[in-house]
């Protein structure tokens, strides 16, 4: 069969692979090269070595601020989203009335796009702060917590349905046997439920980590970085460097390479750590 198929490579693989090469592979390699150059267009690049990387870390307060803001934001969001969605999944697998309705409602925000979500929350938060005479751009803390609430609202339902699927895979006999042996509900949760849903935990941590770290649309729509770039996350800061600062495109590209490396390391380390804790089934 393989022999028959071999000459069909152009039909089966080429269309996808050409598109992939043109919009991803070539831009990726070119992007790494350009991070070591100064350029205003792709053709006008001149080699400057590590200068862009040095500039990004020494002459650009916005970048360091964005990096720190993104780390804080990711830390808080990952914990709150996973704790709340896991708790809701536990409640919704207890055969309560209205489970389907609740699942529908909690999942719904996940379908709305980041830009629209950002402006919906912009209205809500400014309406509440307006009572006290503030708005969201008044203080960077408002923007920070606004983004945390927004992302919780968006991702809780998504993570919840993954945890529900994980919980439903636990054999009922396991819980019953533990109960008969006199285990308390808390020890069942700690010793049976959590270890058994570890695969779901791995996935949810990965999804929330990468989604929080790479957040762009919601950031742009909710705060736009205001006040004074203090609530810019990394993706938005890189965008602003490329399109808002003439002559700094090389620095923007260097920041993007750093951004890529951080995301790759986070993804790799996290999958290694939680992957090890999964129970063999």
């Amino acid at each position: 069969m393989e022999k028959n198929m071999k000459k069909y490579f152009p039909v089966f693989v080429l269309p996808t692979f050409v598109a992939f090469t043109v919009v991803f592979l070539i831009p990726f390699v070119l992007g790494i090269y350009l991070s070591f150059t100064e350029f205003t267009t792709v053709e006008s690049a001149t080699w400057v070595g590590l200068e862009n990387y040095i500039k990004a870390f020494t002459q650009d307060e916005n970048f360091k601020n964005a990096l720190w803001f993104t780390i804080k934001f990711t830390f808080v969001s990952v914990i709150t989203i996973n704790v709340i969605s896991f708790f809701l999944a536990l409640l919704l697998t207890k055969a309560l009335k209205g489970t389907n309705f609740f699942r529908t409602v909690f999942f719904m925000p996940n379908l709305i796009g980041g830009i629209v979500l950002g402006y919906i929350w912009n209205l809500l938060i400014n309406s509440i702060l307006g009572v006290f005479g503030f708005d969201i751009t008044y203080d960077a803390d408002f923007g920070f917590w606004g983004l945390v609430f927004l992302l919780n609202w968006q991702l809780i339902g998504y993570m919840m349905v993954i945890y529900i699927a994980g919980l439903q895979n636990i054999p009922k006999e396991l819980n019953e046997a533990a109960m008969i042996d006199g285990a308390s509900p808390f020890s069942v949760l700690k010793n049976i439920t959590v270890p058994m849903v570890m695969p779901a935990v791995t996935i949810c941590l990965f999804l929330t980590l990468t989604n929080s770290f790479k957040l762009f649309d919601q950031n742009l729509a909710l705060t736009g970085g205001a006040p004074a770039r203090e609530t810019s996350m990394l993706a938005l800061d890189i965008y602003n460097t490329f399109y808002g600062r003439i002559g700094w495109q090389g620095v923007g590209q260097a920041k993007a390479v750093v951004f890529f490396l951080i995301v790759a390391i986070i993804a790799f380390v996290q999958l290694k750590i939680t992957g090890r804790k999964e129970v063999e089934q």
Binding site: E2, N4, M5, F9, V11, F12, P15, T16, F17, A19, F20, T21, V22, V23, F24, L25, P27, F28, L30, G31, L34, L88, L96, K97, G98, F102, V105, F107, M108, L111, I112, G113, G114, I115, V116, Y119, I120, W121, L123, L124, S127, G130, V161, I162, A165, A200, I203, C204, T210, K214, F216, D217, L220, Y239, Q253, A256, F259, F260, V263, A264
Partner: protein
């Protein structure tokens, strides 16, 4: 027994309260979309009354001023076109590189995998300048761009499914004289259907809502819904017509919610399958 009944009711009441919290932001946008623009800032929480209610005035303004109808159809064409291209072409690719075992195909597979962890900003500038040079900055031209960006996850998911399929059926079809193309579309693709639905849903949700890629490639000439909303806000420099803007947000959200309520089962299943296999 009594105790568990009470705790049931407490859980139920809690979930009901939380549902209201979840719906509240959307409720707020909807009520304000029916109020006069002067009554939104200052009294955002009040329900429209005879003084503030303006009927569909905001909707008419929103549709006329921001080309919402055009943006809607543009977004629809781009989403449907890209999803069809992704589902058909990446499933073909995945089947081929899984069945024809060569070093080269293995490399291609790993490249697709690798692309999944690379953030968009890494290729944002270079991809945009290449795409513009190739003339891909049009409503139809952006479809191959989405094919390229969507191929990582899609090839990965289809490959995972193909690996679990026995190849005997395909071999039998080929011995009976079916060429690889016929074999794929008559024998393999029907078996891939569950994965195809998952891949279609995940990509549709992403492309429909995407902002930065259409903003960079299509800009203000060919606005998609997300771009239209962002440009309305950007172009207003703070002097925004809040009533019209609220109506635009509602118009952008309604099609998704209707679609969701009808296809909920598939969407949730698709998202869970996508996550578990991805």
């Amino acid at each position: 027994m009594m105790k568990s009944k009470i705790s049931h009711w407490i859980s139920f009441a809690f979930l009901l309260f939380l549902s209201l919290v979840f719906i509240f932001p959307i409720y707020l946008v909807v009520i304000n979309s029916f109020k006069s623009k002067f009554n939104i800032i200052g009294e955002p929480f009040s329900f429209p009354d005879e003084d503030t209610f303006v009927g569909f005035e905001n909707y008419i303004y929103g549709i006329e001023s921001a080309d919402i109808v055009g943006s809607f159809f543009r977004t629809l064409i781009i989403t449907v076109g890209s999803v069809v291209a992704i589902v058909v072409l990446t499933s073909m690719t995945a089947w081929y590189i899984t069945r024809v075992k060569s070093k080269f195909n293995k490399w291609i597979y790993y490249l697709f995998l690798f692309s999944m962890i690379v953030p968009f900003q890494m290729v944002m500038y270079t991809m945009t300048s290449i795409s513009v040079k190739l003339g891909l900055n049009s409503v139809l031209g952006i479809i191959p761009v989405y094919l390229g960006f969507g191929s990582g996850l899609s090839v990965f998911m289809f490959s995972g499914f193909v690996k679990g399929l026995p190849s005997e059926i395909e071999e039998a079809a080929m011995i009976d004289g079916c060429g690889p193309i016929k074999t794929f579309f008559y024998v393999v693709f029907p078996m891939l259907k569950p994965t195809a639905i998952t891949v279609a849903i995940l990509n549709a949700m992403w492309i429909w809502n995407d902002f930065l890629l259409p903003y960079l490639l299509l800009g203000s000439n060919n606005k998609t819904l997300s771009v239209a909303i962002q440009l309305t806000m950007q172009g207003a420099y703070g002097a925004i017509d809040w009533g019209g803007f609220m109506a635009m947000l509602v118009l952008a959200v309604i099609p998704i919610i209707i679609f969701y309520l009808f296809c909920q089962k598939y969407i949730i299943k698709g998202v869970v399958d996508g996550a578990v296999k991805g």
